[in-house]
Structure formats: structure tokens, C-alpha cells
């Protein structure tokens, strides 16, 4: 058996069959390698993106093919106070949550950049809120915000005696809005802190030594060394953060579902309510498409607004 197969294998090695030669032909190999990834992305990302834009101009509902109705969906949305409400809250939510996340996250990153015992353990703990499924931690927040059994109210009223009544976190519009923002900040801090910590660790200590020799204060060292050196990474992390905060869905859907009286609807939850739950696919798609201009603007703003510093410094700093 082995006697007969061995020579033939030797021949096959010297003169590879057409399949082997085809697999070693570079253009074919490139196409083969790219096909799965590009195929998946085309079918389930590019095509739906285009389809979404098309649906926004139709009156499609679940179970019924729509016809082209031009800008009617958008005209309807512009007159819809709920849509304006969602736009307002999406922008407000993104702005406040991003400021909170980056202020606290940067602070945490600076703290973690010091030397102290159990540092790696602490870094691992800090990332935990980001690892755990958002919906599940959102449920924990829902329970923390419970009107009757909120642990925060208990602390404030029964332990610290600061307030006399329990806080109605989710029952009235403004407290509900800020409660959701707090939960979003809580979830976003780890990502920002760990990403920025990686950036902080790439800054050469010699820069700080030179500044200290020149008598720079801690604030001056932060302002003129840390901040400019962090700008490129800040720009990228902030772009990501803004995009995913603006299009957030899980937290709001899990905690308030847009209530009370539709005051906490983000554009994504409104799109879900109209498009999937309500069956008006065309209108839902129009709401989703209306997020795109905001996203493009936010991306350009955060990316170019912050990354410009990098060009000013020249290429050598990379």
C-alpha cells in the first residue's frame, strides 16, 4: 500500500495538479480570500443600507410591498413632534453622555496610569461593565431606579436623611432622561478609560522629565504634553463613542422603552417602535435614515476637529 502511494505523491509534489496551480495563482487566491468577507458584508450590510434608503422613500408596511412616494415620509416626520422630540433627546443624550464619559474616563485613565499594587487586577475590574451584556446591566439599573425600592432613594432618604421623599427616577421626563444618561456614562467609562490608558502609555516619560526640569506644573504637563499627545487617539475613540451613543438602542429600550410620555425616545427606539413594532417599515426606515446626516456631521466634527492637531505636529509624532 505504502509502496504504491509514495512515488505517486512524489510526482504530485513536483508537478502539482491544476487545482493546486490554480490555488497558487495570485489573482485567483486574492478573490478566493476576499470572497467570504466581502460577500457577507455586501449581502448583509451594503445591500441593506441601500435598501434602507430606498424603503425610506416608500410606504412599505409589514406584509405589503410599498410604492415610491418620494419625500412624503420625511415631510411627515418634519411635522411630527415626536420625531423632533427624539432628535432633541438623541443630541442631548449624546452630548451629555459623551462629555461625562470622556471627563470621567480620562480621569480614570490618568489614575490607572500611576504605579500601585494590584494594578492589572484593577484594570480587569474596570472593564467589567463594558463586557457584560448591556441589556442585563440595564435591567440592574432599572431595578436601581425603581420608584418604590430604589437603593439610591433609600440611601438618600433613610440613611443619609438628605431628602424626605423617594425620587421618581423613571416616572417623569427630565429625571428619566438624566437617569438614562447616567446609565450610559456608567457603561461607557471603561471603554474610554482603557483605550485612553493605552494612549497614555505610549507617551515617552522623557517628555515629562524634560518638562519637570523646566519647572512645569502638573497642570502644565497635562495641558501641554498629555493632551496634545493624546489628540489623535482621543479623536478616534470619540468618533466611535459618538456614533454608538447617538445610535444607542439597548439602554433606552430596556429601561424606559421611550416613556414616560415618549420623552426618552432616541431616534433608534422610535424607528423600532414605528418600523418593527408598528409595522410601518417605510416610516421606520425614514427615521433610521434621518440619523445618517447627524452621524456624518458628528464624525467629521470630532475626527477633523481633534485630529487637526496631528497635522500641525507633523508626521514625525506618529
Amino acid at each position: 500500500m505504502s509502496v504504491t502511494t509514495l512515488p505517486s505523491r512524489g510526482v504530485a509534489l513536483r508537478q502539482p495538479g491544476w487545482i493546486a496551480r490554480l490555488l497558487d495563482y495570485k489573482p485567483f487566491l486574492i478573490v478566493m480570500c476576499l470572497a467570504p468577507a466581502i460577500g457577507l458584508l455586501t449581502v448583509f450590510l451594503t445591500y441593506p443600507l441601500g435598501l434602507g434608503v430606498w424603503l425610506a422613500f416608500t410606504d412599505t408596511t409589514i406584509g405589503q410591498r410599498g410604492i415610491f412616494i418620494g419625500l412624503e415620509n420625511f415631510q411627515y416626520l418634519l411635522k411630527d413632534p415626536l420625531w423632533w422630540n427624539a432628535v432633541f433627546y438623541s443630541v442631548f443624550y449624546t452630548a451629555i453622555a459623551t462629555i461625562g464619559k470622556f471627563a470621567l474616563g480620562f480621569w480614570l485613565a490618568l489614575l490607572l496610569n500611576n504605579h500601585f499594587p494590584l494594578k492589572s487586577l484593577l484594570r480587569a475590574i474596570v472593564l467589567l461593565p463594558w463586557i457584560v451584556p448591556t441589556v442585563l446591566s440595564a435591567l440592574a439599573f432599572w431595578w436601581i431606579y425603581d420608584p418604590q425600592f430604589s437603593i439610591i432613594s433609600y440611601l438618600l432618604v433613610d440613611v443619609l436623611h438628605i431628602r424626605s421623599t423617594y425620587i421618581d427616577f423613571l416616572g417623569t421626563p427630565w429625571p428619566a432622561r438624566f437617569s438614562l444618561i447616567a446609565a450610559n456614562i456608567w457603561r461607557g467609562i471603561p471603554f474610554v478609560a482603557i483605550s485612553l490608558l493605552a494612549g497614555l502609555q505610549t507617551i515617552s516619560p522623557s517628555l515629562y522629565e524634560a518638562a519637570m526640569l523646566d519647572g512645569a506644573t502638573a497642570w502644565q504637563r497635562f495641558r501641554y504634553i498629555t493632551l496634545p499627545m493624546m489628540m489623535p487617539i482621543l479623536a478616534i475613540v470619540m468618533t466611535f463613542s459618538i456614533i454608538f451613543t447617538f445610535t444607542d438602542f439597548q439602554l433606552v429600550y430596556a429601561i424606559t422603552r421611550g416613556g414616560p410620555v415618549n420623552s426618552t425616545h432616541l431616534l433608534a427606539t422610535l424607528a423600532f417602535q414605528r418600523g418593527i413594532a408598528g409595522g410601518e417599515l417605510g416610516e421606520g426606515a425614514a427615521i433610521a435614515v434621518s440619523m445618517i446626516p447627524f452621524l456624518v456631521f458628528a464624525t467629521l466634527f470630532s475626527y477633523f476637529g481633534l485630529a487637526r492637531r496631528k497635522w500641525q505636529q507633523g508626521e514625525a509624532n506618529d
Binding site: V135, L139, A198, F240
Partner: protein, 300 residues
């Protein structure tokens, strides 16, 4: 501060201990570093503590803060977990979630390894643009896509099937994994592949025998990251799955366990705790890979 450092007395102290500043005393260190850090850790971990403690509390304690200290359990119970495991379809949801997460992880690892290899090592005209295109795909958020994707899934006849999720999750996993793996492939010396080429190895042999074994840390990072992201995914699973048995854990807890006006907080928190455990366990085993992949992807 500048004035203080300029005084001769203080500069002596500073030169004696070059690593620490003169003001870097112990008390100052405690208030400036340890105290804020402790606050951060307390706030970041409290919801988990609250989740855990709620899931082991009997209902009587859960809803009575006057007689029981809410921060502690006086008589722990497994009733909520028992209810979850035997009276609900929780084990089925766990199985479905595991199946979806593992399936989509392998599919996206397969696709992104090949793509990253083609972009980084088979260098062709326009390969940077293909890489950039895949990266841009990561910036398209699922909230924009889920409505048209739902119609695509219906067209394919995959509505209400976990298979739909396995096929759809790679849209956000492949861009991430591809970029992570491009970074890893870059760190492998090209000379190794040249040697193999000279020795007569085919491209696919090189990929299988040389590049992949060297990129194992990258593959693990991409794999655990994909697993976590697909375990946590919510909006697609909510939109594409309708029947109770096919739901993933995050969706099922929210839509099947939240019933009526009286919330079963014990069972809800027990479900959240159990649903978080697999990723938390996974995370504790591979912490360094998580950190390196998170920071690596941002730096690219």
C-alpha cells in the same frame, strides 16, 4: 508649583528622590489617587453587586427595607435561580445564545482571517482601499440597518431562525476582526514567508503552516471578542426572532420574563446574573487578550 520647585530647599528633596516629586507625599497620593480610584471601582461594580445580592434574596426581604438591611442578605435563597431553570425556558435560551455566538464567531474568524491575509500579505493594487472599505463598514451602526435587514431576512426565509443571527452578526464582527488580524499579520516578519516560498510551499500552505500558528494570539483575541459581542448583541436578535424558544438570553429576559405590572425582580436579576456569567468567566480567563485587542483595534 513653579515657585516652590525653584526654592533651593525643595529642589534638594526632589533631587534626592528623582522618581517622585517633592509634593508626592503619602497623604497626597491617597487623596489624589487611591480615594478617587476607590470611588470609581465602587460605582462601576455596584450594579453587579446589587444584581447578585437581589438574585439570592427571598421576596420578603427584597421588598422590605424597613426590617432588613437592603445591602445584605439575612437568609439567602436559591428560589429565584430554581424558578428560572425549571419553570422558564432559560436553559433553551442559553443553548440558543451559545449556538449563535459560537457559530458567528467561527464564521467571522474564517472570513476575516482570509481577508486580512489577502489584504496584508498578498498585497495587490488597491488592497489598502479594500482594507479601508472594511473598516468603514464598522462605522455603520446596527440601528440604521435593522429595518431593511429584517426585510432581507424575510426574503431569505430565515425569519425567526437562529441561523439569521449567525449570518448577520459577522457584519459587525468581520470589520473588527479583520483590522485586528491585519495588525497581527503585520507583526510577523515577511522573511519567514519568503523562506517558505523559496522552499516551494504554496500560498495556502504558508498561511496554514507559518502565518496562522504565529498569529494565534491575534486569533484568540478576535475570537473571544467576537464571542462577547455576539453574546451581548440585542437589536438584531430582538427584531429577527419571534418565537420564545429561539430567543437569545438578553432578548428573552427582557421580553419573556418581564410580564405584567408586578416585576419579579429576584428572577430578573438572577437571569441577568446567569446571562452575564459566561462572558464574565470568559473574560476573567482572557483579560490580557481583551485589553490588547481593545487597545490594538483603537490604535490601528
Amino acid at each position: 508649583m513653579t515657585d516652590v520647585a525653584a526654592q533651593p530647599g525643595n529642589s534638594n528633596v526632589a533631587s534626592a528622590t528623582p522618581d517622585t516629586m517633592a509634593w508626592d507625599s503619602r497623604a497626597r497620593r491617597v487623596t489624589m489617587i487611591y480615594l478617587p480610584l476607590a470611588c470609581f471601582v465602587l460605582i462601576l461594580l455596584f450594579p453587579f453587586y446589587w444584581m447578585a445580592i437581589t438574585s439570592f434574596k427571598p421576596n420578603a426581604e427584597l421588598l422590605n427595607y424597613k426590617e432588613h438591611n437592603p445591602f445584605w442578605i439575612s437568609s439567602p435563597t436559591l428560589a429565584h435561580i430554581k424558578h428560572l431553570l425549571f419553570n422558564t425556558a432559560y436553559p433553551t435560551w442559553l443553548k440558543t445564545t451559545m449556538f449563535v455566538a459560537i457559530g458567528s464567531t467561527f464564521l467571522s474568524l474564517f472570513a476575516s482571517t482570509l481577508a486580512a491575509y489577502a489584504i496584508e500579505r498578498l498585497r495587490f493594487r488597491g488592497s489598502p482601499y479594500v482594507g479601508l472599505g472594511i473598516y468603514l463598514a464598522y462605522l455603520v451602526p446596527p440601528s440604521i440597518l435593522f429595518i431593511p435587514l429584517a426585510t432581507v431576512i424575510v426574503q431569505f426565509g430565515l425569519f425567526d431562525s437562529p441561523l439569521a443571527l449567525i449570518l448577520v452578526y459577522p457584519t459587525f464582527l468581520v470589520p473588527f476582526c479583520t483590522w485586528l488580524l491585519i495588525g497581527y499579520f503585520k507583526s510577523i516578519p515577511y522573511e519567514l514567508e519568503e523562506c517558505a516560498l523559496v522552499d516551494g510551499a504554496t500560498r495556502l500552505q504558508i498561511l496554514r503552516r507559518i502565518t496562522l500558528p504565529l498569529a494565534v494570539p491575534g486569533l484568540i483575541s478576535a475570537g473571544i471578542f467576537s464571542f462577547t459581542l455576539s453574546w451581548n448583541e440585542f437589536i438584531y436578535a430582538l427584531a429577527f426572532i419571534q418565537s420564545g424558544a429561539n430567543k437569545t438570553v438578553p432578548v428573552a429576559i427582557l421580553t419573556e420574563l418581564v410580564t405584567g405590572d408586578v416585576y419579579q425582580w429576584g428572577a430578573l436579576m438572577a437571569g441577568s446574573l446567569l446571562g452575564s456569567l459566561p462572558v464574565a468567566l470568559f473574560y476573567s480567563l482572557f483579560v490580557d487578550y481583551y485589553v490588547s485587542s481593545l487597545t490594538g483595534a483603537v490604535k490601528e
